[in-house]
Structure formats: structure tokens, C-alpha cells
Amino acid sequence: MRLPLRGLWRLGVLCAALVAALVQAGCEEQTPTAVTEDLFPIAPRTVEVLFPFDDFGGAVQIVGGYGSPAELGAGPVATDFEGFNSRAIVRFTNYPTTATVRDTSGVSRPDSALTFIGGRIVVFYDTLTSQVETPLSISAGATSVSWHGPTASWDVAVDTIGNRTPWPEPGGGPVVPIGEGSADLLQGDSIVIPVDSAQVALWGDTLDTTRGVLIQAVDPGRRLDVESVRLRVSAIPSLNPDTLIEVSAFAGDITFLFDPLPDPAPDGLRIGGAPAWRTFLTIDPPRFVEATAPICAELQCPIEITAARVNQAELILTSREVPVAFQPTDTTSIDVRAVVAPQLLPKAPLGPPLGSALGQPAPPEYFSTQPGSQLVLPVTSFVRDLLRGRTASGEPAPDMLALLAFFEPISLGFQSFEGPGTPGAPVLRLVLTISGTVELP
């Protein structure tokens, strides 16, 4: 007995149509809604637990030297600003060798035979962050000893491997005065200091490692935040000697020499600055927590803290006032990362950011007018890995955290926080959800 082909064809068409209707109906699963908590087989509780530093933290290290002020491109110029001194030292790039000029017949042509006859230094400054209530005199002087931009500091002109040469005089050594200008926040955002032709000619020798200009504040007690420095050079083109043109040389090397550089407080944490500091600390989260009587009536106490129960882990830092000269002038992003190989400190590789992609913003007032503010750093995945004993990829879980500026270095200003042993010591905040075991009915 065989199914005839004609019947099979009809059956196939009908089955296909009906199965399609069934599948269509199945695709429209709809959830009914009711109210009864009795249907929940477990009754989880979500709680917040705060642990003091002694319960979870240890081995705090504050390590500086990451990056250089030369990477900033901008910084302060001040003399005795609350005891702080800072100078900008600049080495300009080569002068332009060619300029397009209009010749005597009125045709624009490139001219590579320029005669430099003088110039002017233009110092641009930040009118919002500079602390200059009255006009501030700024002087410029030509450096007279060899110096190395990436490594120069207040005391040292060159600090490379095998060559550590101090300045003859701290703060940039003796200089040949060039001139002065005045910074008046009400009048503009730049200072102009004339430069004579002889100095321009000297700076045109790019093989001279002593060349440079040191910019410093003449008047004490104020701080000018320099954004950039340029040299505008006046030149006579050979194609039209009756014409005066102006070309620009930019700051090839610019760094800031400052003094003093305050050491981190022994009871504090420090992040940021230039060169930047990082704070390293080990974390050993508690494995158990005591609960109150109502909880213990339902669950076994002390309650075990497991990775699955941790919904959120945060490190709470309390800000501390920073010396005026080093107070950040803008919001700084703080980054927190796991230290993958602590034995390699200070050059230990770090893991990816534990928080948001842009770090946690720390407003500048936290470190000036609002000390005691709390900065919350997310460390959920780090703590969960520690409780599991391994990372998601199966590697042993690191137990050291690095707290650092998201962009490093970002400014001379740094962030300071209360450290272990102080009332505002770091706190570990855990959000736990605790429940019984899910069983069959």
C-alpha cells in the first residue's frame, strides 16, 4: 500500500500551509501578567556593605616619574607663588627657509633667500585659569648652557643615561636678557617680547644645543598659565628687498622647570601631576560579612561573599586639599586598572580600565575648595575575579590596583586623597544580593 503521488502533492501543500500557520502562532509567544510574589521560589535581598581600609586594603605604594613636563606643552610660569616657582624653557624650531613673496613686478614667487632682521616672542596664556589679578611682568632670556628638553628640570639641564648635568644656577641657569612683556588678563591673551637681530641670528644655528629662551615671571605671588610660545621672525625677501615679511618658528621643545616638587604625604594617596604619580595598593576583599538578625534568621550567617553575589564593587576615595600651586585647574579623569605583574613595578603592565572608557571625572574643586569630597571608582570585575581566584580568561586574578590619571601627564596639578590610617581612608563598597538556593519545587 503506497501513498499516491497526487495525494502526496496535495498533502504537502496543505501541510506546509498549516505548519506555517502553527509556526506563525508559535512566534507570537505572549506573556501574561499577574501579581503574586508567591511564585518567586527565592526571596533575594540586595544590600550595601562598606568595608574600612583595614579590612581589604594594604601595601600602598605611591610611585612617581611617569611622563615628563615636556609632554604637557602648557604649564605655569610663577615666581614665589605660595612658595612655588616655575619657568618655561623653549627651543624654537628651524626658521622657515622659504616664503612666498610678491616680487617687484607684483608676481608671487617662492623666495628661499630670506634675510632675518629681528623678531618677537609671543607668549599665549590661559586667561581663565591664570591667577593674575594685576598685570604681571614676564621676562625672556636666552639660555646659555646646553639643555635637553625631555629631561630638563629645575636642578638639572640634562638627565639622560650617562649624562646628568646640573644647571649652573637652578631654574635654567644664567640667561642673557632679551626683554620683558606684561600679561594683563583684561587686555588680551598674549605677551609680545621683542628680539633683536643678533639673537635671532644666534637662534638660527640649529646645531647650538644651548639655544633657547627662558620665560619667567618677574613679579612674585602670581601664576600665569602658558599655553604656547612662538617666535615671529621678521625677514627681508631677496625678490623684493623693500618689503618686510614675517614668518613663525614654533616651540620644538617646551618644558617647565618648577620647584619645589612636594613629596607625597605619608598618609595620603597621590594621582597625576607631571611627571605623574600613580598609587598602587593591594586588595583582599573580605570573604564573609556579618548580618543583622532578620537576615540571619533566613540565611546562614556570617554570609559568604562570593563573586556571584557581588553586583557592584567600588573603591571610595576622599579628596584632600592640594598645595595651591599644584591644584588642578580643570576636571581630571581618574583611571583604575589591575596591575598584571606587580613584581615589575614601577613598569608593571596594567590591565584595561575597570571603569568607563573615559575614567571617573574628578572636579578641580575637590582638591581646593571642597576637600573631603568622595570619588567613587568602579572595581566590580576586579573584585569578582579576586573572589573567584581567576579572571574570565582563566588567569590567576591580580590583587593589585593602580590608580592613575587617565591621560598621563595632563597637568602639573595632581590629585590627592586621604590614605590609610586617616579618617577618610579608602572604603570598599559592595552591593550584594543574597538569596537561598534555587531548587525544584
Partner: protein, 390 residues
């Protein structure tokens, strides 16, 4: 051991609403919602399968396949739509299930072998709730979802044989197999907090395993009457947690199920069927299951089949039925009652020498379930295809 600085302990208050999905909210009780693994013909006839005169492939009833004289394959699909009220709440649901696949091979004109895969209990349901958690000075909204996904099926192999011209017996052996995932997820609305709060997940997975066997018989004392009976035995159903499940292993003592039924030809073209099934769903060996078990439950059904004439390639039977069932598990100890009115028809799409080679049966049901504060009404369509002569 750590020192507790502060332990804000705020139980999450369930504010509602709560949601559930599946074929019924009764899926939340015990082993779930019982699924009767029958075809559209039985659904239209009030669920009566024992003593039926219509040849079919049914789990645990190999004698019903004795008149299938060619290898046959059957398949049933079952979309359903429902509404419910639970206390002062109302809701709807819908979904499609496939409760039965069967295969039969006639050994000779007097005996048949069957193989069936059928659903027995549906454990698909979901409940959710909205609450709050006080985390320090911040109130965070929580969304809780508990989901149960899975069910219990039976795989049976059967053999039946005519002992005489009017007496046949059959037997099946089989296994209960299935699995269920039960997962609780609490998610946090992080709009009010600076850093994300990861969801809390807790759950487990169990697999079911257990033996079952049945014997059935049918007898035609006169040409116009067929009576039948079946006894189905089940051993201990083991619910075994997977290795990463904290939940415990469970054992459920499945009850003996007995069913009897009869079909009588009242007039040429008009049959009436009656059936009764009973089982004692108590003392299951697990107090948690006993808590929602209904004790002895009985189902009765009645159906009327009238062959109105011919359509397509053969007869065109019209069917009416009624069924009243006590369900094995309920939301509480009050038990659960299901009543169904049904109607349907069958179409023979191809036949040879009077033997149907391709059939389509359809049943529509209007039903209700009542369990304490829960009232459900549902509409269900069952479609069964059978192809013979493969």
C-alpha cells in the same frame, strides 16, 4: 572574618507587576502543567482514547494502532491562547506546543510496533516583579525575573497484537526524559547611580530520567461496542542537578495511572465515546512536590462522532466532546480543575482500497481552569497529520 562597618539591609519590596508565561500559570506547580499527549481526534472527543474505534498512534496505547495496516507517521501541533485572572490581576498568554510524534509499523495483519515521543508536563513559565533596593542614600529600582524553561517527555516503544477477532492486548516500555532550567535574574536600573550594577543571577539546571511501562487491552463484545483499559506504571523519576547547580537531587515517585473507556456505535455513522482516567498524585516521596500535588485526580470525557458524508478523498467525521479533569498539580493545596468543550473534524486526503493514507484531523477547544485564586480560560487548536504507506 571581617568587621562590619555598615550593613544596610533593605529587603526588596515587590511592588508588581508580576508576569508569567507558558501554557498556564499552573506550570509553576510541582512537575508543571500536565500535557495530555493525544491527537486532535481525541481532543475533539473529550480526550477519550481508551476503547476508541478510530485507528491512531497514541503513546501507551499500541492497540489503537492495530488497524493501521501500513507504516504510519503522525504529528500533532497545538497553538493555544489564554486569559487568566489571579486575584485582582488579569492577563493573557499564547504559545504553540508540539505534544506528540508517533510512528507505527505493522508486523503483520495481527500485530504492530509503535514508537512515540510525547510531552507529559510543561514547565515553561515565568514570573517577574519590580521592586526597589535602598543602597546607602540611593534608591535603585530592581527588575526581578524568574524563568522556568523545560518540561518532561516520554519516549515509548510498544507492541500490540490481536489475540482473537475481538480481543487485543498491547504493552509499552519507555523512559521519561526531560530537563528544566530555573533561573532567577535581578537587574538594576542604574540611571540613578554613577557606575553600573551587574545583574544578580541564580539558578540551576536539572535533567529528568525515569522508567515507565504500560499494558492496554481492548475488547469488542459486540460489533457495535468496543471497550478498553490501560494501566500505566512509572518508576522513580529522578531529577538530577547538573554539576554546576547548587540545587539538590530530587526523586519523585510517579503514580500508577489507570484509564478505561468505551466507544459504541449508536446508529450507522454516529458513535459515542466515554472515558475515565485516574491517578493518585500524593505521597510522591518529596514533600515539596506533595505540597502542590492534588492527590487523587480523575478525568472524565465524552465524545460524539458523526460521519456527515464524504469530503475530499473519504469520510468526513464531525466530532463533539466534553472533558472534565482534575490536574495533578496546582498553585496550592486547593487543587485545580480543567473543563473543556471541544469540536472538530477529520479529513481523509488520500486513501487506497478504503485505507486512509493521509489524514488531517483538527480540533478546537474552549476550556477553563480553576485553582484557588486562579481562573484561566483558553482556546486551543490541535492539528494532527498522519501519513501512511511511507
Amino acid at each position: 572574618m571581617t568587621r562590619l562597618l555598615r550593613f544596610f539591609l533593605v529587603p526588596v519590596a515587590l511592588l508588581g507587576p508580576v508576569a508569567a508565561s507558558g501554557q498556564s500559570l499552573l506550570s509553576a506547580g510541582g512537575l508543571g502543567l500536565r500535557v495530555e499527549p493525544v491527537d486532535a481526534t481525541a481532543r475533539a472527543l473529550g480526550g477519550v482514547v481508551t476503547g476508541s474505534m478510530t485507528p491512531r498512534i497514541l503513546p501507551g496505547y499500541p492497540t489503537a494502532s492495530l488497524d493501521l495496516l501500513a507504516p504510519s507517521l503522525t504529528f500533532t501541533g497545538q497553538p493555544s491562547w489564554g486569559d487568566f485572572t489571579l486575584e485582582d490581576q488579569e492577563g493573557t498568554y499564547q504559545g504553540t506546543r508540539f505534544p506528540l510524534v508517533g510512528f507505527s509499523i505493522p508486523v503483520n495483519l495481527r500485530s504492530v510496533i509503535t514508537l512515540t515521543l510525547a510531552s507529559r508536563f510543561d514547565q515553561r513559565w515565568q514570573v517577574s516583579g519590580v521592586g526597589t533596593a535602598e543602597l546607602g542614600e540611593v534608591t535603585v529600582t530592581t527588575d526581578d525575573v524568574f524563568e522556568s524553561e523545560g518540561g518532561l517527555s516520554e519516549l515509548r516503544a510498544g507492541y500490540a497484537r490481536w489475540l482473537s477477532a475481538n480481543v487485543a492486548v498491547g504493552a509499552t516500555v519507555g523512559l521519561y526524559r526531560g530537563k528544566v532550567n530555573r533561573t532567577f535574574i535581578r537587574q538594576f536600573d542604574t540611571a540613578s547611580v554613577a557606575n553600573p550594577i551587574t545583574a544578580f543571577v541564580n539558578g540551576g539546571k536539572w535533567t529528568f530520567f525515569g522508567p515507565t511501562a504500560s499494558v492496554d487491552a481492548q475488547w469488542d463484545p459486540i460489533r457495535l461496542l468496543r471497550v478498553g483499559a490501560r494501566i500505566s506504571w512509572s518508576g522513580t523519576l529522578e531529577a538530577k542537578p547538573t554539576i554546576d547547580t547548587e540545587g539538590s537531587r530530587r526523586e519523585i515517585e510517579m503514580p500508577l495511572e489507570i484509564s478505561v473507556g468505551a466507544t459504541a456505535i449508536l446508529t450507522p455513522g454516529l458513535d459515542v465515546s466515554l472515558g475515565l482516567e485516574t491517578a493518585n498524585w500524593s505521597e510522591l516521596g518529596d514533600p515539596a512536590f506533595d505540597e502542590t500535588a492534588s492527590g487523587r485526580v480523575t478525568s472524565i470525557g465524552a465524545g460524539l462522532e458523526w460521519t456527515a458524508g464524504s469530503f475530499w478523498a473519504g469520510e468526513f467525521p464531525l466530532r463533539l466532546g466534553y472533558r472534565r479533569s482534575e490536574l495533578p498539580f496546582a498553585l496550592d493545596a486547593d487543587g485545580a480543575l480543567e473543563t473543556i468543550w471541544s469540536a472538530g473534524f477529520g479529513v481523509i486526503m488520500a486513501q487506497s482500497q478504503g485505507f486512509p493514507l493521509a489524514t488531517l484531523d483538527l480540533a478546537g477547544e474552549l476550556g477553563s481552569r480553576d485553582s484557588g485564586p486562579l481562573d484561566e480560560s483558553f482556546r486551543r487548536v490541535s492539528l494532527t497529520f498522519r501519513i501512511s504507506g511511507l
